[in-house]
């Protein structure tokens, strides 16, 4: 969590983004993120992001679901309370397949959604800085982080030259904080107030 300075460029088409991302990376600027109203396939590769491993997590949760349910039912019906159902074997594997399957799916899906929410830091009452309100509507917002070496006006004119329709500079908190969207509250502002008081 830290407050940093960013140069923000807004595009009204997704087409120029690919070229823009390439140019930003080539010219050595620090690309913070691109905010888009819908997923743009291939943009993650263009930005050099690695593939997500969330599906691997899903597989591991599924594995946990299968083994835990199967071993639980085995323990219940062979060790804890062997139960005679019409003379059928205590270890009734075929009859346990539906429950094992359902529990596998349940564990995998619930686990994956929780992992997704954890990784993306999504939860009720979580608030984040939004660089442009229309980035969930029709604007594609490219955000470049200013390092001590960055020349802001150079970045701004660079963004305009690669097709940004609107360019501005913002101070922003990069992490999340607890807050409400109907109030203008920013974590770093609150902190500075406490310090001065």
């Amino acid at each position: 969590m830290a407050v940093k300075k960013f140069v923000v460029g807004c595009f009204d088409e997704e087409g120029p983004l690919f070229d823009a991302v390439k140019k930003v990376r080539k010219s050595g600027y620090k690309l913070h993120d691109v905010y888009t109203p819908f997923p743009i396939h291939g943009l993650d590769q263009a930005m050099g992001l690695r593939d997500t491993s969330i599906h691997t997590a899903g597989f591991l949760y599924a594995l946990f679901g299968t083994t835990s349910m199967l071993s639980f039912m085995t323990w219940v019906f062979t060790v804890d309370w062997p139960f005679n159902v019409g003379g059928k074997p205590h270890f009734a594997l075929p009859a346990w397949i539906p429950i094992t399957f359902e529990f596998t799916v349940l564990c995998s899906c619930v686990g994956m959604v929780i992992t997704f929410m954890y990784l993306c830091q999504l939860a009720p009452f979580v608030k984040k800085h939004h660089f442009h309100l229309r980035s969930t509507d029709d604007l594609f917002v490219m955000v470049i982080e200013c390092t001590p070496k960055t020349n802001e006006s150079e970045v701004s004119s660079f963004l305009t030259s690669i097709g940004a329709k609107e360019v501005n500079t913002q101070m922003a908190e990069t992490g999340w904080w607890l807050g409400r969207y109907d109030r203008e509250q920013k974590l770093f502002e609150g902190q500075s107030e406490t310090v001065s008081a």
Binding site: V34, F38, V85, R180
Partner: protein, 483 residues
């Protein structure tokens, strides 16, 4: 990206008229920001009234016992389990649209998936009521869960299809809810960022979990949706399979058949699509979303209806054939006398089912009728009546004449509280749906934007016709794109 310039001219556009991203947002979010119409209030209040009737019926049943229903010695399962299977079946179309069609890369699902998934969740909520309240001593409903108790611990019977059902339905509900809500988060963020009113900003800020639209988050979101779809596909098939096991694993003539799982799944999708049609034909009109839920969407769903209806028809005929070919006198009686014989007490129900499910959907072989909204709406209601009678026929005609002819005289008809319970689930379903259509985007906004440049009417005109290009040319195009 170069291939985005090409589009098959065979495919009709999925979004009509001249739209851009902002207009898509405007059109879909408008009903949320506007005051509900008078029609909405009328519908909502009727639904609430039905829900109240249902709550009162349940109050009677809980206070005075299951005897408030007209179940009798041979018909231990009547309207309650019929309605349970019917509602679960309706839910299946939502998962089919959102999961299976996602895996098959069907672009048209984007117009209807959000509403269909909502329908799934509400339908499963309604379905769950029936087995729960049928328990009679409903305060002991938690006994179906395998928890370490002080009675031994005495565990639940993992070998029983009824317990499989507990796991199947609760997993299905949970996974559908997660799938639906994870898809909703970006759209709720769209509503949040447009909101002018304080309470709306607060509510949607809360509901959208702080979504920003970061590329990394979208990447994970896409991966999550794909895997959830991959998991939901076998799940949805398993759910109705397990429901059919409730019957198929018993030794009651008429239930004890191996064809039940595929037959139930096809029937579920059939009835579910009919319910999707009923809801969307009204929603698109009332919320003026005709440009997003186009006549093409309606036609495709009618094709699914005629396909699944015919599969169900084949299953009915196969059942009849096997009951004759198997030469089991009890099974033969169940089919020939209790069902086929139109003069038997429930013969009318069997033939009503045949007429509604097998014969009448065949009109959808004609393109003109598939694209006729009035016919489609009428048929969607007919199919749901037919599918209700299918479950009723399977359940009641198999058990009302059992092995003891002395108990045959009892004719089962529901009591007012059984009917009230069923009406109550309609109230629950439509109350939820009305609230959903008021407070949530009925169409997946982000997903429509995602397909807009490929399938929007105004963009399609600009694309080169892929049919006119040679394979060689396209091959080079792909390779020049990658390097």
């Amino acid at each position: 990206m170069a291939l985005l310039r090409y589009e098959s001219q065979v495919r009709p556009p999925l979004v009509d008229n001249d739209k851009n991203y902002h207009q898509v947002t405007e059109d879909i979010v408008r009903p949320i920001e506007a005051n509900p119409s008078r029609l909405w209030w009328v519908g909502f209040l009727i639904s609430l009234g039905l829900l109240g009737f249902g709550v009162f019926s349940i109050y009677r049943e809980v206070t005075y016992g299951v005897g408030q229903w007209n179940l009798n010695k041979t018909i231990g399962w009547g309207w309650d389990i019929t309605n349970f299977v019917w509602w679960v079946g309706i839910g299946h179309a939502g998962t089919l649209i959102s999961a299976i069609l996602l895996l098959f890369r069907q672009g048209w699902r984007t117009g209807v998936n959000r509403a269909a998934e909502a329908m799934t969740i509400f339908a499963v909520m309604c379905a769950g009521q029936f087995p729960i309240w049928h328990m009679g001593r409903v305060w002991m409903a938690f006994f179906v869960l395998p928890y370490a108790n002080t009675r031994g611990p005495l565990w639940v019977n993992f070998n029983s299809p009824l317990l499989w059902d507990v796991f199947a339905i609760s997993t299905y509900f949970t996974v559908s809810l997660l799938f639906w809500y994870s898809g909703l988060i970006p759209d709720l963020a769209t509503v949040r960022d447009r909101a002018k009113l304080k309470w709306r900003k607060y509510m949607y800020g809360l509901l959208s979990f702080g979504w920003t639209g970061s590329t990394k988050h979208w990447q994970r979101h896409e991966s999550l949706s794909l895997v959830l779809a991959g998991m939901s596909t076998p799940l949805v098939l398993s759910v109705h399979t397990v429901v059919s096991f409730d019957f198929a694993t018993s030794v009651v003539p008429g239930w004890h058949t191996t064809i039940f799982p595929p037959y139930f799944v096809a029937g579920a999708i059939f009835s579910g699509f009919a319910m999707v049609q009923t809801l969307l034909l009204v929603s698109r009109k009332v919320l003026s979303l005709e440009e997003y839920i186009t006549i093409e969407h309606i036609e495709v769903m009618n094709k699914v209806i005629v396909l699944t209806g015919s599969i169900v028809g084949v299953a009915y005929l196969t059942e009849l054939f096997i009951s004759w070919y198997g030469q089991n006198p009890n099974e033969g009686w169940a089919f020939a006398q209790n069902r086929l014989n139109i003069f038997s007490p429930y013969g009318w129900a069997y033939w009503l089912m045949m007429g509604c499910n097998v014969i009448s959907p065949q009109i959808f072989w004609f393109r003109k009728l598939r694209r006729n909204l009035v016919v489609t709406f009428f048929m969607s209601v007919i199919v749901n009546i037919g599918m209700w009678f299918e479950r009723f026929v399977i359940i009641v005609t198999s058990i009302y004449r059992d092995y003891l002819p002395s108990s045959w005289s009892t004719y089962y008809a529901p009591s007012i509280w059984e009917i009230g319970f069923y009406m109550g689930t309609f109230g629950l379903f439509f109350t939820c749906y009305f609230l959903f259509s008021k407070f949530f985007p009925v169409i997946a906004v982000a997903e429509i934007k995602h397909i807009l440049k490929r399938s929007g009417e105004n963009y399609k005109k600009g694309h080169a016709n892929v049919e006119k290009e040679s394979a060689d040319h396209l091959y080079h195009e792909i390779h020049s794109d990658h390097h």
